[in-house]
Symmetry: C2
Subunit: 209 residues, 2 copies
């Protein structure tokens, strides 16, 4: 697409069951597309050593976060282990207006909330090759107890059974193939006519100059 044409920015939302390889795929995708940025969430949790405000998270107080919730400023939010995490609607809208593409790595519940509040997002679900392979990968990590692994597998099954509403499915069997498919989705969505209305206008304006 022509850079001058004023394309709308795209929000790419990526979810996956634990162990499907989402984090590595998202990291590689950000590396590959210099103009694709990680979306930065708001959180009430304490800043950890080495973390930077507005880089890792926007760190805010509980009352500030609650104010954002009350005023409908969040496209999605959730409480995890007593801390709040959320995505600002304003940041998403501003990104779209400024032609900035954002990548948001988020769980299925968060993605479902976003789908309601920000329908123009592109929703991608990453799948393991099959559940046996997922179990193998979870065990291979060697960090989780049997109980945690069992729970993750049950969650995975439930998430997969509900993933039909996503726009795209990507199977992470071969990592490079999955990365190519994700990259293709980014490139294709940038070429969507609905995000490039200014491009057609620019042709006709040119003619009348």
């Amino acid at each position: 697409m022509s850079k001058s044409a004023g394309r709308e920015g795209v929000l790419f939302v990526v979810s996956a069951p634990s162990g499907a390889g989402k984090t590595s795929l998202c990291r590689e995708l950000i590396d590959r597309f210099s103009d694709l940025r990680q979306s930065i969430s708001f959180t009430t949790r304490q800043k950890r050593y080495g973390e930077q405000d507005s880089v890792d998270y926007h760190f805010v107080s509980q009352p500030v976060f609650q104010g954002m919730v009350d005023e409908g400023q969040l496209a999605e939010w959730a409480e995890v282990h007593g801390n709040m995490y959320g995505t600002s609607l304003e940041v998403l809208r501003q990104g779209a207006a400024e032609g900035i593409d954002l990548l948001l790595d988020i769980d299925c519940q968060g993605a479902a909330q976003l789908k309601k509040n920000y329908r123009q997002g592109v929703f991608i679900f990453i799948l393991p090759p099959d559940l046996q392979e997922l179990e193998k990968r979870l065990r291979g990590r060697d960090t989780d107890s049997e109980e945690v692994i069992r729970r993750r597998l049950q969650n995975a099954e439930q998430e997969i059974s509900q993933a039909g509403w996503y726009d795209y499915l990507v199977v992470n069997d071969d990592f490079q193939i999955a990365l190519e498919q994700l990259s293709a989705i980014v490139t294709a969505e940038r070429n969507r006519a609905s995000r490039n209305k200014a491009l057609l206008d620019s042709f006709l304006a040119m003619e009348n100059e």
Copy 2:
């Protein structure tokens, strides 16, 4: 995507103003994707030397073609220089059911008819970088009269002004970039969740085996 998952075949419909480079791009795309086939049209025109039935066209008589029109068997059809050309709905539906991806290179009017009769198609419009460059390319061919070039430019302008309904826009400024974008659209559309319903089902079936 997993091959065993029984993905639905996709119809890719490509239109462009004359001189935008559609024919070369489609040829390269077919070369690149061994499993993407050119859609074969029905026609009443005489077979030319070297042409093969069911390879270049399905050659049929005027009464047979008219019968297809009358019975609503054509997803689009048009008369060009006294000959009829059309695309069979049945062929498209069969391709979708069998997981075969088809590429149809067709003018804007044909594409608009198809959009009405076969909405699940993926509609791509190829643009020249600008109208000045299009004029240069048309003159560079050195085969058309001034009158023909003028008419082509007027048509181009009209087609571009009406291209907003297409799913994707691809600017053919740098040929390789345009080809990458087209390829990305093919790959991304193959990953659409709506065409891969069997994939999610296969996960849950597996679990219950």
